[in-house]
Symmetry: C2
Subunit: 397 residues, 2 copies
């Protein structure tokens, strides 16, 4: 390939540097593809007021580079929150603020993954994680799940299979609450069994709890991290979902020796001090009120989507009713090809991501992830009806 720039870089690129396919975002009229939270409850005024207050108090700190782990007062807020909400006893020094949870995931993946390493995830998994593990050479294998979460027998089997090839499993990545893309929350019983298996086989767990605050019904299930007294669970969380994704603020909790390695892969210094100050000040006074308001909005959006699924898909499809988070996982009969239909559906006005995109093995083209967080309830309702009409027109419903 001749370089359009004149100079030919082809032979200069690292063997490990793939071409990124991260372009801009396109939006369909009814956009269920991309996982945006609710825009109406964004606390814009609250954030600006909070920032003003925080800057009056601490502003000259902006002249300094943030400490690499990020604003100490926000890390304290995270420690308090994790104690209260996730039964986790962690110290300010155990926490690193990151640019969204995505940066924390990437840092841990880089610290732990060598080319060829076997890494386990749920059978459908967050695209960013799948891409990152592969970027650093990991051999990703999906563990079977049902609506209670990871199926323990499948986990045992897949670990044994790897061991049979002379390979150990390097770690298990899981999103146990409001899983992306499948929507379920892993039950306490399943978490216990998964942790037991991982302990027995010496497999660390990377727990991605980035949706856990978005519960609008049912009871919280305690974190993997809280059930482990052995340092075997690494943990990431996020403010993207409860404040705003544009804030790019998340956090990582890990034992010192893991943090020390992971910090080598933190590209841009400590997180944005401006955003950290605003978020700390805002959440210190408003966290649970804001989360409740947001979750009320999300519940109405989910309900509208579920109602429309019932009316328009009926018995022709299956879906889990999520108790929180942003996702409904639509499962059409085996053999339905929603992968081929995806671009056409987008053109005709409804965006979704088909299941095969989330599968390490490329399975699940009969499934689709529908995100209900951003459109209004009415738009969710109408959009699902429109999706049914598109499916009918193309003979899959």
């Amino acid at each position: 390939m001749t370089s359009p720039s004149g100079f030919n870089y082809d032979s200069f690129f690292s063997a490990h540097a793939p071409v990124s396919n991260r372009g801009g975002n396109r939006n369909a009229r009814y956009d269920f593809a991309v996982a945006y939270p609710d825009p109406e409850t964004l606390p814009l005024d609250g954030l600006v007021d909070a920032l003003k207050t925080a800057l009056d108090r601490e502003g000259r700190d902006l002249a300094y580079y943030p400490v690499p782990a990020g604003l100490p007062s926000l890390r304290q807020l995270v420690a308090d929150k994790l104690q209260r909400d996730r039964n986790m006893t962690v110290n300010v020094d155990d926490i690193v603020l990151t640019s969204g949870s995505g940066e924390g995931i990437s840092m841990i993946i880089q610290a732990l993954t060598d080319p060829g390493d076997v890494v386990l995830t749920e059978e459908f998994v967050y695209l960013g994680t799948l891409r990152q593990i592969r970027l650093f050479g990991g051999d990703v294998r999906g563990v079977r799940c049902d609506d209670q979460g990871i199926i323990p027998e499948s986990l045992e089997e897949i670990i044994r299979a790897a061991e049979g090839e002379g390979k150990r499993v390097k770690y298990l990545y899981t999103i146990p609450a409001f899983q992306n893309p499948m929507g379920w929350t892993m039950s306490l019983e399943r978490r216990r069994r998964v942790l037991d298996i991982c302990r027995e086989r010496g497999v660390p767990i990377l727990e991605d709890d980035c949706y856990v605050d978005l519960r609008f019904e049912g009871e919280d299930v305690t974190s993997f991290h809280s059930m482990d007294d052995n340092g075997q669970v690494l943990y990431v969380g996020s403010f993207s979902k409860i404040v705003a994704p544009g804030m790019r603020l998340g956090y990582m909790v890990a034992p010192q020796e893991v943090r020390q390695r992971a910090m080598s892969f933190k590209g841009g210094g400590g997180v944005n001090q401006f955003a950290a100050l605003a978020v700390e000040e805002y959440l210190r006074n408003n966290m649970y009120d804001h989360i409740n308001e947001q979750n009320d909005a999300l519940r109405a959006k989910r309900d509208a989507m579920l109602a429309s699924l019932g009316e328009n898909f009926g018995d022709a499809a299956k879906w889990v009713k999520p108790e929180g988070g942003l996702y409904v996982w639509l499962e059409m009969p085996e053999g339905t090809d929603l992968a081929s239909l995806q671009e056409q559906s987008f053109e005709e006005g409804v965006g979704y991501y088909n299941g095969a995109m989330f599968s390490p093995e490329g399975r699940g083209a009969n499934c689709a992830r529908l995100c209900y967080g951003h459109p209004s309830p009415q738009t969710n309702y109408d959009g699902v009806a429109e999706l049914a009409r598109i499916f009918e027109r193309h003979g899959v419903l």
Copy 2:
């Protein structure tokens, strides 16, 4: 080593994951070690007002994940600024916003560096870059410099030496304006010769122009990028120095095929939208007024440091008088050991970084980088006098 966490991670770490030594920052009474800009001219009120205005106009965008390249209006501002200030004709799409210039440097290093690759830098080089190139296995070699910048004969010699070992040079990293740590600005004549050599030998240049706005006397020298019509110069810049480091905002300019690879290594999604909105709105109305105000403050600080150096070090040391930026490079007679004295000097009240820290080969323990940007002029004056007393007490002056 037994892991303090119980679970033993030793055998889990990637072979490429070193322990990071990035801890918190300590400050000496007179701190010339860390490169902070002036805190007094931080435009805190201006940034909050700008953010308010921008959020009123565009705030709902915070609900969306930023496009990976970052806020388009800020990229447009960068394009306009580069045209006006650096004679660079670039398009909005050529620009990626990054978390400080450090993230851009890291992304490019990862896109281009394979273990064992020979990479050239100035003989003393920014610590973050040195660490990143080594993290990804690069074999860093320093090119000799004088107060006009890179010495062309040394560049040719070092390229030939690598070729003699059967290796080509993968790229040259340079900070041509107010170099970190040496303080000089590369002359136009030298830039022409360096670019000619790199063209002839097919060596891309990574130009780090992060200090270029901090000129308080003399004439601007045009960028490497502006002299190249072949796509051979990659470019990074920063708002850390002209707004605030805590904002964590910088930018990268590169041909499409390089950007596409580099984007694979952008860990946390697009840059913080909150900071990007504030900086765009603020700079659109205040950029040059603010830069001028800040540079007036920096000039006074530099002058105080230079005056004190003259009075307290006289003929016993050499230093370059920088026309901008943040650094004075102090050169004591060959054989002086400022490396061993560094910690002691810190304890006795004056912080500096000795030259060997910045050298790929560990040379230059007789040199020290003195940052004058953060302390007041009086503190610079007093601190240099104190440094001289410490040097005298320990027999190196």
